[in-house]
């Protein structure tokens, strides 16, 4: 099975409805900055307000990033990602948004996110994973947004928590692990909006006890859900290329895919794939490491596997090799990490 060019999007593809996150952030800016003229906000972003209002305008991920960076410069306060996060979902600008509102429980919300992820959360897409004790939500940078990642992680994590809180009408004990460092001034904002969190962790992931998955939402409406789902035509069904690659790597983690194997799956030459990944500010090695690291961390922390078991699961020749690789991924050896 090859993955063809219609199954993913690249950062310069104009495929995102303009009404999404850009207009959302614009209104936050206009609320906080007062009467700042629109052309001043949009200057240097290549976007025009009148175009964005048109129903069929599509913009690229790159354009969205440019606008977000501008917004961060115009309103450099710590609470901007959270102001955005709280408005992200259920949201009104995507076709699948009502499905979130009609969901019966978190399990169904996750199902909606899994099926309509590219539309609901195009830039930073969630991957869900459950075991006997916990639900895990890992956030994957789909287009290589570089220095916007911290901002977007905070926005999306707080947004997801806020959306679930809105639906369940309860505070749930989420535990957030952030890969970047939270500076002291923004500590307060992060702790209020995310609850329990730890920064400088190897990956961006959230965790919730599995018991909450089936708790019923009072706003649930199965018939409306069904009726809406039947006539749904999502405007964006393909994830970003990095998410797609990550997906393939993750699902084939026991096969230890090389760059050649991966390129083969994407039906292109290794050189082309390499170039495409580079355009998205990443490397094959980085993506591969990240997928393996995520698995290794999970097996260590949650399953309490031994080094040797993990090493053989991830197709390492021996434990020493695996230890070296692990240290390269997150700066600590497996035993140091387990103690920390």
């Amino acid at each position: 099975m090859y993955i063809n060019r219609n199954q993913y999007q690249e950062r310069h593809h104009k495929c995102h409805p303009a009404q999404g996150q850009v207009l959302l952030l614009l209104d936050i800016l206009r609320l906080r900055l007062g009467e700042k003229p629109l052309d001043e906000i949009f200057s240097g972003t290549g976007l025009f307000y009148q175009d964005l209002l048109m129903p069929n305008t599509l913009i690229s991920a790159e354009q969205i990033f440019k606008f977000f960076k501008k917004a961060k410069r115009l309103y450099p306060q710590d609470d901007l990602p959270f102001l955005l996060g709280h408005r992200l979902w259920p949201g009104h600008y995507s076709q699948s948004a009502p499905l979130l509102s009609f969901s019966q429980n978190l399990a169904q919300v996750i199902d909606v996110f899994t099926r309509f992820g590219p539309e609901l959360s195009p830039l930073l897409q969630p991957r869900f994973f459950c075991d006997n004790d916990h639900l895990y939500v890992q956030w994957i940078d789909a287009y290589g947004m570089e220095d916007l990642t911290d901002f977007m992680i905070q926005a999306h994590m707080s947004g997801f928590i806020s959306c679930v809180r809105h639906l369940s009408q309860e505070h749930w004990p989420w535990q957030c692990y952030l890969s970047h460092k939270i500076k002291t001034p923004s500590h307060a904002n992060v702790s209020v909006n995310l609850g329990q969190f730890e920064d400088k962790r190897p990956i961006n992931v959230m965790r919730l006890p599995i018991a909450y998955m089936q708790q019923a939402f009072s706003s649930a409406s199965p018939s409306l859900f069904f009726a809406h789902e039947k006539h749904l035509t999502p405007c964006l069904t393909q994830p970003g290329i990095l998410f797609k690659i990550y997906d393939v790597l993750f699902n084939n983690i026991d096969k230890d895919l090389s760059l050649n194997d991966l390129a083969n799956k994407f039906a292109m030459s290794p050189a082309t794939l390499k170039r495409k990944i580079k355009q998205h500010n990443s490397h094959y090695k980085h993506l591969d490491d990240h997928a393996k690291l995520s698995i290794a961390l999970y097996l260590f922390k949650e399953k309490a596997w031994e080094n040797q078991q993990v090493a053989s699961y991830l197709q390492f020749k021996d434990t020493a090799n695996f230890r070296r690789a692990f240290k390269r991924w997150c700066g600590l050896t497996p035993s140091q990490w387990k103690q920390a």
Partner: protein, 310 residues
């Protein structure tokens, strides 16, 4: 000219006009009575030094007009600086004009304006001190003993999270305060309020709650906005039972407050909200205790068991 941008110029036009007239007068006297120096006679170091001082004083005058509302104190400060400015201007012109006459008219201008300026400026500073005391009284509950304009939150005009630690530290340094308490207050269901009434109304609610809390907190305490809908009250010299009492009072007060969010459709849209609180009490003389006082208060708030950590 953009009238909105340069409104201060029109507001103070009389003063500025008088200054211009004065400077023209000084320049006229110099041209009329003095003799222009030849280039070799000019000491350029003096020109830069004195000219630079005059420009600096001019900048100070501009800042005074830009940053202060009109009034007696502003006038005194500005006039004092204006006299200094004229004196320095004369000093500057001295570098270009010689005085061939026996009268020391240039010295008179300089040493006449200088003491008048210093005196007026001193008077202005004295009144400014008086004025500041009055303003401090007004701001007391917002800023305590420290003023740090970089920390002020634009929405509520309260100080932000990193300020709280400074307040705790200064209270600790003060020998009179043996023990201090911090209360964290959270608006219940603010998330739902935002989603139901919109984020504009959410911002307004934060401002209203700020005003209500400011009214009700004890005289010597300080109110800060920790983050989002969480507020912090620092109570110096306060034991756990007293802090609980304050927290309960604040909660009761907010619960009975009627917040109005009128839209066009409904005439009477009165809304009641509730607060949840967590608090921590720290002995000011145990330093290690102080750093995590904020964390403790947050923790008690999160666990919703309203108990203290001594």
């Amino acid at each position: 000219m953009d009238t909105k941008k340069h409104a201060w110029l029109w507001l103070h036009q009389k003063k500025l006009f008088a200054l211009m007239l004065m400077l023209c007068g000084v320049l006229g006297i110099n041209i009329h009575l003095g003799v222009l120096k030849v280039t070799s006679e000019i000491d350029w170091w003096d020109v830069f030094g004195e000219g630079g001082s005059a420009i600096a004083v001019g900048l100070w005058m501009t800042f005074i007009l830009l940053s202060r509302p009109m009034g007696k104190v502003t006038d005194l400060l500005w006039c004092g600086l204006a006299c200094l400015f004229v004196a320095l201007f004369q000093d500057f012109l001295d570098e270009f004009f010689k005085n061939p006459l026996p009268q020391h008219w240039n010295g008179w201008i300089e040493s006449g304006f200088m003491p008048i300026g210093i005196f007026t400026l001193s008077l202005g500073l004295y009144h400014w001190h008086k004025e500041q005391q009055a303003i401090n009284q007004q701001l007391k509950k917002r800023e305590g003993k420290i003023r740090q304009y970089q920390n002020i939150d634009q929405l509520t005009q309260l100080s932000q999270a990193d300020y709280i630690q400074q307040v705790l530290d200064t209270n600790q340094a003060d020998k009179r305060h043996k023990i201090q308490a911090i209360i964290m207050l959270d608006i219940c269901d603010f998330n739902r309020f935002n989603r139901r009434y919109g984020f504009v109304q959410g911002d307004k609610l934060l401002q209203d709650v700020t005003d209500a809390l400011l009214l009700c907190i004890p005289q010597d305490s300080t109110l800060c906005r920790y983050a989002a809908d969480r507020f912090a009250v620092v109570l110096p010299n306060c034991h756990a039972p007293a802090a609980h009492k304050v927290a309960q009072q604040l909660r009761e007060m907010i619960r009975h407050c009627c917040f109005r969010y009128c839209d066009e459709t409904s005439q009477d849209d009165c809304l009641y909200i509730d607060l949840s609180y967590g608090l921590a009490v720290g002995d000011a003389h145990q330093k290690d205790n102080l750093g995590n006082l904020i964390d403790q208060a947050n923790h008690t708030l999160r666990s919703k068991q309203y108990m203290t950590f001594a």
